[in-house]
């Protein structure tokens, strides 16, 4: 709801889309918090060895860490919506395998594209079925909203 003639500020959607993704130290609700910032780092001895090698020079240590970070792929937010049952399956499976749902999907995408392109068309067929279900749900919601507004006006 806006008033004519007033300047529009940035919308929440625009702010969300434009912001840089930010990670935080992993949260835990455990009473004895054993999660430290170290455990959030990837298992890579080169990071620790870089720090050890440049122990006497913090600036050098920072630079080498930054170079290493710059060499890794950038990560951005990618909001996904899943069917409830599948979401539970994916989350549980990822947790059991010690990965995250996002990295599991990245792994699947990479493997299918690189090593099993024959599976891609099957995956797309399956995706079209899922998309069809969502489109139907959206149509039904729209129809319900329009019809209810029509009934209100009568």
């Amino acid at each position: 709801m806006t008033k004519q003639g007033r300047q529009q500020k940035i919308s929440a959607s625009e702010m969300f889309a434009q912001r840089k993704a930010q990670s935080v130290n992993p949260r835990s609700d455990k009473l004895s918090d054993s999660v430290t910032s170290q455990s959030a780092l990837p298992e890579d001895s080169s990071i620790n060895s870089d720090v050890n090698q440049s122990k006497g020079d913090p600036a050098l240590s920072l630079q080498s860490l930054q170079h290493e970070l710059d060499a890794l792929p950038k990560v951005t937010n990618f909001q996904l919506r899943f069917e409830d049952d599948l979401k539970g399956e994916v989350k549980d499976f990822a947790r059991e395998q010690g990965v995250t749902p996002e990295t599991l999907l990245q792994g699947l995408w990479t493997v299918i594209q690189k090593d099993h392109p024959d599976l891609m068309s099957k995956a797309i067929d399956e995706a079209r079925i899922h998309k069809g279900r969502r489109s139907k749900a959206a149509e039904l919601k729209n129809s319900i909203t329009r019809l209810s507004k029509l009934l209100e006006s009568l």
């Binding site: 709801m1 806006t2 008033k3 007033r6 300047q7 529009q8 500020k9 940035i10 919308s11 929440a12 959607s13 625009e14 702010m15 969300f16 912001r19 840089k20 930010q22 990670s23 935080v24 130290n25 992993p26 949260r27 835990s28 609700d29 959030a40 909001q79 919506r81 979401k87 995250t100 919601k141 319900i144 909203t145 019809l147 209810s148 009934l151 209100e152």
Partner: protein, 271 residues
């Protein structure tokens, strides 16, 4: 739809008792406000994270949540997320680790001022911010009250609810006397009122009269107990989206929005 120039209305939904309808009220105000086109933010300030779950929002332990906002680890601008399939509706979510926010706020000392400060970057972005609070007189509850310019009390139409209503009103007045809250008590929402046919049950009528004696014109139209609400919550919908004939169930929220948000439509006369 981008926001107008007015600063956000910030409302907190409070009850010092569990099962009093706080989360449902926050959920419904958020959905209905966003459906009217208002840029709406809901904040889950309860470590039980029921609001976050109802709106089907899921964040990783390394993604910003309300805890990090309170602790000033991230700006509130970086901690809100769109609610799936809901244009104009966003959430600052919680998970169980939010309980640690209690410790942080206790150390800070003036917990009532913390969330108010943290929300400043969002006042020009949103039309309405609604905060769901935990059912205790805790620092998390105080920081939500301190951030708000409106308070809504929810209370079950039963002895338990009337006790909770009394305690919650006392808390708001205590915050006011300490200058931690300078806003308005917008209304008291009777929750789980039971009707048989067109009439309230004896218990409901008795308890509603007790509530009316205590709060007079602040008493809002009651929220009726209905299976339709349970269905709506299961589908992250509103009752009218589940069944268009049940739009009447949403009337208390239409009244609340009209009272709080400039430009919100006036609902039909109270039933």
């Amino acid at each position: 739809m981008a926001k107008s120039d007015q600063s956000a209305v910030i409302s907190t939904v409070i009850a010092l008792g569990g099962g009093q309808g706080k989360t449902l009220t926050t959920y419904m105000l958020g959905l209905k406000s966003s459906m009217l086109g208002f840029q709406t933010l809901v904040i889950d300030a309860d470590p039980q994270k029921n609001l976050t779950d109802l709106l089907r929002v899921s964040i990783e332990a390394t993604e910003p949540s309300l805890l990090e906002v309170l602790q000033a680890d991230v700006s509130s601008e970086n901690a809100f997320y769109p609610v799936p399939e809901r244009e104009n509706l966003f959430i600052i979510p919680a998970d169980r680790a939010l309980i640690k926010g209690q410790q942080y706020l206790a150390q800070v000392g003036n917990s009532a001022a913390v969330l108010k400060t943290r929300l400043k970057p969002l006042l020009s972005v949103f039309d309405l911010i609604v905060i769901d609070t935990p059912p205790q007189k805790s620092h998390l509850c105080l920081t939500a009250i301190g951030a708000s310019n409106h308070a809504i009390i929810t209370a079950e139409v039963a002895a338990k609810g009337i006790n909770s209503l009394e305690e919650t009103r006392e808390l708001i007045e205590e915050c006011r006397s300490l200058e931690a809250f300078s806003g308005d008590l917008v209304g008291v929402l009777p929750f789980r009122a039971r009707w048989t046919g067109n009439f309230p049950t004896v218990d409901t009528r008795t308890n509603m009269e007790l509530m009316k004696d205590k709060v007079n014109e602040l008493l809002l139209p009651p929220l009726l107990e209905s299976e339709v609400y349970k269905q709506a919550l299961n589908y992250a919908s509103t009752p009218s989206e589940i069944n268009v004939e049940k739009a009447d169930l949403e009337h208390p929220f239409d009244v609340l929005l009209h009272r709080m948000v400039p430009g919100a439509p006036k609902p039909p006369s109270e039933k």
